[in-house]
Amino acid sequence: MAVELLERVGELLGDAVIDSHARLGDATVLVDAGRIQEVLGALRDSDLRFNVLMDLTAVDYLGRNPRFEVVYHLASVDTEPHGTDPARLPHRLRVKAGVLEDPCEIGSATSLYVSADWMEREVWDLYGIVFKGHPDLKRILLYEQFEGHPLRKDYPKERRQPLIGPLN
């Protein structure tokens, strides 16, 4: 099923797709980061109807180029009511896009999915990836005074930045 989905996604996105695989049944495409908004828009509005952005995160592959990978998990949820039958979840797709260390930025998906708002703020907070076009990109889980981005692999785990009290 994932393979057929990938074929359709490949037709839809054309040369924006750099790589794709369906390992473990998770359909995955690696796309051109510069065209991410176009890609997500096409996936949302086509007949594949990926109407939910389930998850958005990033992975720091320190030492690899591009260093970061932003990972989108899309799902297609059947919103039509059909009596007492439970809604189906016809398909899921993982979209990945590589982000360089400098400039560490990618287009924002907030204009396409409202749910991207908080998740992009979280990725900015923890990984320091700038989402261009985000209306209010600020820290969400940590505080404004915090310096650096803790989930980067080069941030030491126990480096604390307390607001009050001793450096414990």
Binding site: Y143, E147, P150, K157, E158, Q161, P162, L163, I164, N168
Partner: protein, 181 residues
């Protein structure tokens, strides 16, 4: 029997002598007004401890006060992150003397399973603590044990009208404007 009633009627036997410390502390230890500073998992066990089966009310510590001004027992229940720490300090400072603090759960005692950039390694780095209740989260029995130990401690506190937290001044460090590198 009638003789006893007669004594009572005349008020001859209706007083006792004690130290003022003892009687004030006796009153205090059975009427804690606690401020539950609930942040995380331990809050679930705190609910259980206050619930019907374990019933903290038996120890006179059931009525939560959600204004620090009205509370004399600060129960810090759950992990304190560095973002939360100034708030905890503020709540503690707002409480009127006499006041006691209970560190409820491993995270408040020492940081517990969390030792990273976000978490405070024990609330005793921010506020003075009277009783530590270990456990992740502590069972309600442990909470009751901690509370009884606190009562013993309160009973033994000398100087009923003196602030007993001398170490507050030592601990009240200035708020760091810019985080250290």
């Amino acid at each position: 029997m009638t003789e006893k009633l007669e004594i009572l009627r005349q008020g001859r036997d209706s007083f006792l002598t004690t130290k003022i410390d003892a009687v004030v502390n006796w009153g205090r230890k059975y009427s804690f007004f606690l401020y539950p500073f609930v942040t995380a998992c331990c809050g679930m066990e705190f609910m259980s401890a206050a619930g019907p089966r374990y019933d903290l009310d038996r120890f006179g510590a059931a009525l939560p006060r959600f204004s620090p001004r009205q509370a004399d027992l600060l129960m810090v229940v759950g992990t304190i992150s560095h973002r939360q720490a100034p708030i905890l300090k503020k709540v503690y400072d707002q409480m009127a003397e006499p006041k006691w603090t209970v560190a409820f759960g491993a995270c408040t005692c020492s940081g517990g399973p969390y030792n990273n950039y976000a978490t405070v390694q024990g609330i005793d780095t921010i506020v003075p603590v009277d009783i530590y209740i270990p456990g992740c989260p502590p069972r309600p029995e442990a909470v009751i044990d901690g509370l009884v130990k606190l009562q013993q401690r309160v009973q033994a506190t000398p100087g009923w009208n003196k602030p007993h937290h001398k170490e507050i001044e030592d601990l009240s460090l200035p708020i760091i404007e810019k985080p250290l590198p």
